[in-house]
Structures are given as C-alpha cells and as structure tokens.
Amino acid sequence: MRLTDLRDKKVRSLDGETLGRVHEVHCDGGKVIAIMCGAGSFIERWTARKQGCRIPWECVRKVEREQVVVTPDPPQRKSRSSASRTRQGTRRPSAPRSKR
C-alpha cells in the first residue's frame, strides 16, 4: 500500500455515508494510527492547519481504488482543532451533514 492509495480518496462509512476525503495520515512509532478526512484540504495544506474528522486506523475496513471504507461508528472519532469542534461538534455519523 502507498500513501497515495489513501490520500484524496473519498471516505465512506459502511452504511454509505460520505465523510469527506483523506487529507492526512497520522503515524506514531512508525505505525499508522489514524487518517484525517474532511473538506478544504487544499488550503489546509498551505496553512499547515488541519481540521476535519480523525478516524483511527482500526476503523478502516477497506482501501479500494476510489474510496476508503470505515466502520460507521468509529470509536474516539473527534475533530482535531477547536475550530472544527465548533463546526462539527461530536455529531453522530447518522445525523445529516452537508456534503463537501
């Protein structure tokens, strides 16, 4: 697997909901621990400020050609920054959300 197999891929939950696109992969101790998905990755890379949804790696079910499939209720899923916390809060995945 390569980083580019993950980056910019659509993230969908098992029940088909789109959560955004992968714009970051977090590692610690050389191990992949989480992916970040959400909107606005272009500006975020420029400003090196990350916002969006953090999905622990254990919740990634499948890495397909066009998308990454995650469990619908990943544990510890939370926003990274305070700005995105006010925007997204601790919404449940079944709640309606605006598309990217």
Binding site: R45, W46, T47
Partner: protein, 411 residues
C-alpha cells in the same frame, strides 16, 4: 555584521537592481506620463523589499530555498503548474535580457545584433562556468554600478525637483481620456511586474543558501534588501525622471532599448553615452545570468537534484545542464529575430500572472513558527506581506485585459 560584506552586499544589490524591463518601462513611463508613475516604482520597491527579506530569512533559518518549500506546500500537481509557468516566464525574461545584451553590443561595436547575441551568450555562459557564485554576483553587481551615471545625469539636467518629489505621492494624472487611463493602468501593472519579477525571490533565496547564510546573517539580509533595493530603485526612478524631462516635452517615445542611454549623452556627451551603455550592458547581462540561474535553481530544487554554483559544474551535473539548456533556449528565442521590446512586454505579462503563486507559499512559510521559530513573520512583515500579496493579485487579474485593451500600452 561584517561592514565589508555588508557594503559589498548593498552595492551588489544596487548595481544588480535594474534590468531591461525596468529600463524600458521607466523610460516609456517618464515620456508618457511625466513623473506620475514614480510612486508605483516606490511602492513596488517596498514590495520587493518585503518579499526579498522574507525569502532571505527563510533561506537563512530553514536552510531551504523558496522552490523546495513551494513543492512541499503546493504538492506535485499545483507545484508542476507553478514550475512550468515560472520557468516559461523566466525563460522569456532571459531571452529579453539576452536580446538587450545583443542590442547594446551592436550599438557599441556596429556588429550584427544577432551575432552579438550569440557572442553574449558565449561570454555569459563562460562566466557562469568559470566563476563561483559569489564572484558571479559581485562581478555583475559591482560593475553594474556604472548605472549611477543615470542618477548623476538627472542632477545635471536640473529637473524640477518639487515635481519629481511630487511623483512619490500616489496619484492618477487629471484629464486623461479613457484610453490614456487604461494605458496608465497598464504601466502600473507592468512596473509592479518588472520590479517584483518572480526570479528575484528564487535567485535571492538560492543565493542565501549558496553563501550558507544562517540566523547571524539576518541583519545583513535586512540591510541589503532595504538599503540596497532602495538605492537601486532610485536608479530606475532617475531614468524615469530624466525621460520625463528630456523626452516627454518633445513627444519622443523611447521605442528602442538603448534610448535610455541618451539621457546620459545629453548632459555628458560621448563619455556619458559610453558609461551609460556600459552600465546598461552589465546590468542587463547580470540579469540574464540571474534569470537563467533562477530557472536552473527552480527545476533542480523542484526535483531534488544537486544544485548551486558553490559547487563545481561537474559536482551538480543536472543543474549545470539545466542552465546551459535554458541559455540555449533563450538564445533560440532571440534568434527568431523577435523584437526585443516585444519580448520585454511578454516577460512582464507572463511574470505578473505567476507572481501570486510565487509569493503566497513564501508568505505562508515565513509565517510558520514550526519552521521559522522566533524568526517567523512579526506583525509588520505579515501586514505588509498580505498587503502586497493583494496588490500583486489585483495586478495579475488586471494584466491581460489591460494588455489587450491597450495593445501593450501602444493604443
């Protein structure tokens, strides 16, 4: 701060500030609009001071030149688009400078212009091969101080100093027709582009790495970009003011690159003419070398090749091949016998469109405390940086419509 190093740095910046686009647009601006565009030169000079200081600071603290960091920030796709656009605009600029070298050698020797362009490329290429970086920069920069003849010539023709000083106040002349207003706008955009060419940032930051700057060189960097660029800009303003005094009242439009030299010939005769042509030759030749190296820096840094003239040519072989190829491509453009003034127009036009893509990553990087630590932009650099970014973005949007509406300032 080593006083000798600082003095040499400032003098190099002065002698190396003016290139063919500033020469051409300063002379034309003066003959068409008198002293009314001086403030645009002043404003653009402050802009290049801000971004020049930032690019030197990033080089000294992050030890990485602008294009390396641009690729990291923009990513591969947008980075390739920026690389292609900046290489193209800088290539046209190199061709314009080489054309200028050929023209001035033609004026001095009477030999055919295209042959002199070839001779120019061979001599410049040889200087880049033989001389290490610091010698290249200092040789062209210090010999370019002959351009001071233009400032002396301005004093000698006793211009109305009050009106010259008034030119530093932002203004739009009253009573212009719509067409004249559009041409005024076009000249504003062209001057901003000519003073703030993207290659300046690439060359200056890469030069900082070549000279192994560190945080201790930051005061030097600040003085060079402020004092050096300010004094260099005064040379361009001298050309504009002399043109306003000498050409404007006679309705003479300086349509050839060498017309500016007459500004020194009128007060000082043949001696003034020769010094002016000599200064112009060195300044334009230095700019040709800078633009060619800037392109080679950009490509080498984008792809992670060995680069720099602090190494011998065979120690950075792909970088060496790159600048040789860029020189040859520029020469090929000149050998199509395209008018040098047209090349200057295209260089300025292409460059202004690329400017926002060049300076935005630099701004963001210089703001980033993770890379810059305590040397990240403070409130003054941030405010000025964003202000000038807005200015160049507005200029980039207006450039092509103004060029088309005014037929490149000719309408």
């Amino acid at each position: 701060m080593n006083p000798l190093e600082l003095t040499l740095g400032i003098m190099t910046a002065v002698g190396g500030f003016v290139d063919i686009s500033e020469l051409v647009f300063a002379a034309k601006a003066g003959s068409l609009f008198g002293y009314a565009l001086i403030w645009v030169f002043a404003l653009s000079t402050i802009g290049i001071m801000v971004f020049g200081e930032m690019s030197g600071r990033v080089a000294a603290v992050a030890h990485q030149p602008v294009f390396n960091l641009m690729r990291h920030r923009l990513g591969l796709k947008l980075g390739l688009v920026t690389l292609f656009a900046s290489v193209l605009s800088t290539l046209i600029t190199t061709a314009a400078e080489l054309g200028g070298v050929g023209l001035i050698l033609h004026y001095l020797t009477g030999a055919p212009y295209l042959l002199m362009a070839v001779v120019g490329v061979l001599v410049l290429g040889a200087s880049m091969w033989v001389l290490p970086f610091q010698w290249i920069e200092r040789t062209y920069g210090l010999l370019g101080l002959m351009m001071i003849i233009f400032a002396v010539a301005l004093v000698a023709i006793h211009p109305p100093w009050r009106e010259v000083a008034g030119g530093f106040v932002p203004q739009v002349p009253k009573g212009l027709s719509t067409t004249e207003l559009l041409i005024f706008g076009y000249f504003m955009v062209a001057i901003i582009s000519a003073v703030m060419f993207p290659y300046e940032a690439y060359f200056y930051s890469s030069g900082g790495i070549e000279e192994q700057w560190g945080p201790k060189d930051l005061p030097n960097n600040r003085m060079t970009t402020t004092v050096g660029f300010a004094l260099g800009s005064l040379l361009a303003v001298s050309i504009l003011a002399s043109s306003a005094q000498l050409f404007g009242p006679m309705n003479v439009g300086p349509e050839v690159a060498g017309s500016s030299a007459l500004e020194a010939a009128i007060p000082f005769g043949r001696t003034g003419l020769l010094i002016a042509l000599g200064g112009m030759l060195i300044a334009i030749a230095g700019a040709a070398v800078e633009t060619c190296m800037a392109n080679a820096y950009s490509v080498a840094q984008f792809f992670g090749w060995e680069w720099g003239r602090h190494k011998k040519p065979w120690e950075a072989p792909r970088f060496t091949l790159a600048w040789i190829i860029f020189f040859l491509l520029s020469l090929a453009i000149v050998l199509t016998d395209v008018n040098v003034m047209s090349l200057v127009e295209y260089a300025v036009l292409f460059s202004i469109v690329v400017l926002p893509l060049t300076y935005l990553p630099l701004m963001l990087l210089a703001n980033d405390k993770k890379y810059m630590g305590q040397f990240a932009n403070k409130w003054l650099a941030k405010s000025l940086g964003w202000f000038f970014f807005a200015v160049i973005t507005a200029a980039a949007i207006a450039a092509i419509p103004l060029y088309l509406l005014t037929s490149g300032g000719q309408a």
